[in-house]
Symmetry: C2
Subunit: 245 residues, 2 copies
């Protein structure tokens, strides 16, 4: 359709990087592109912490459940939802921060994801590869301590950036018709596509692993939502001041 | 830096559209570009409902607090966080969906925002203008009823798409140094930029409104986080099955 859409559609996670450096100028350009994304009520509830010290990187890699590419990447950014800054601005204007609202939590989390995705598109347009690191939420309290995050701030995910040293194929997605509906929701329309997607995804894994990985989407979802997931998150968020009222 | 980054940095919300249609083919291309974004554990917890019926659009415009551009836009999409589909896939694989986890809620919400932002970039690359509609969360229960959303699905935001019939200037953002930090969080570094940003944002509003709007960022934040925000959200989410355990 056009080169930007071609770029968007060519995304795949990169977990192996060359030694070529990602410069400070690039990181600044990437984060600035992130800032240009829409933000709810101009709250800009995003803080980005670039982690440089090798020892900190190594700790992050371990806390994320053993992800060595966090150390190897040209740059590593932690994207935080930040309401502390808005609270401080509110106080400067003579107000009192009403903490703990679910809606504010939602606004901040969405703001971070919009900004990060813009940053990802910017990075990929420079020829960089990226990998989101949701695994930081395996140990969010320790990650927050390492980064000295105050209350009203939490790490949503990490982001590895670097020049790709691998060229994986693009992972197939659910059929568009399993996702896009007209006027009202239709479970039937969606679920009719499970078999087709199982087959396509199964083929992708088989090809990619030389036949060793046999998995389908329905199996993946059983693993993901068929059990508790990071059950510490609620308590962690509460401690950080996100009490969800 | 490059045309993609120029595009990202030229974003501004558009609320006035020409009568030129947005075609089904364009919408499909835009949502497919959204699907190409990263997704946590391949959950793809995104459903998009394109609202076509004029009466439904009018209701949405009203429920969002009076936003007539929802009716006037060439296309209007509601972006929903959807764990129902994953739950159905889990059941198909013989599992039992563990509902109510905060982490699953977070994963789904982030997935939606990443996909939507990719879609926005795709739309803007076609020359379309966009406007996110967080106002759907003013009345999320009524919106969900109109769209027949089942449990484990909630509307995160709407998105207006259309050819711009206005050319607003780009809204200034916080200084990059108020947002990007090295190795550890620094409230001091951030808050040193409030005065500068107040001045730049105040100038933007003054210029844009011919002097009638006098507002600074700290005032905006007082209005946003200095009071309760959409206090119904927690109960609504609980009713939809997002119990946040």
């Amino acid at each position: 359709m056009n080169p930007t859409i071609d770029l968007l559609k060519s995304h795949r996670s990169i977990r192996k990087f060359t030694d070529d450096p990602v410069t400070d100028e690039q990181v600044r350009e990437i984060v600035a592109a992130g800032q240009a994304a829409a933000t709810s009520s101009n709250v800009q509830a995003v803080s980005v912490i670039q982690v440089n010290q090798p020892a900190m990187r190594a700790s992050m890699a371990e806390l994320a459940g053993g992800q060595p590419w966090i150390s190897a990447a040209g740059a590593f950014l932690v994207w935080c939802a930040d309401l502390r800054r808005s609270g401080a601005a509110c106080a400067k204007a003579g107000g009192k921060f009403e903490t703990g609202m679910t809606e504010h939590f939602l606004i901040a989390t969405v703001d971070v994801a919009l900004a990060a995705q813009n940053a990802v598109v910017a990075a990929e347009s420079m020829g960089l590869g990226i990998c989101y690191i949701g695994g930081l939420r395996n140990n969010p309290a320790q990650v927050s301590e390492l980064l000295a995050l105050p209350e009203q701030v939490y790490p949503v995910f990490g982001l590895c950036l670097g020049y790709p040293d691998q060229d994986p194929v693009i992972k197939p997605r659910l059929s568009l018709d399993a996702v896009l509906m007209q006027d009202t929701y239709s479970a039937e329309q969606q679920d009719a596509h499970f078999d087709d997607y199982n087959e396509r995804l199964g083929h992708y894994y088989k090809t990619r692993t030389g036949g060793t990985k046999v998995s389908q989407w329905t199996d993946e979802m059983k693993k993901l939502v068929g059990k508790e997931s990071r059950p510490h998150m609620r308590e962690f968020l509460t401690k950080q001041g996100f009490t969800m009222r």
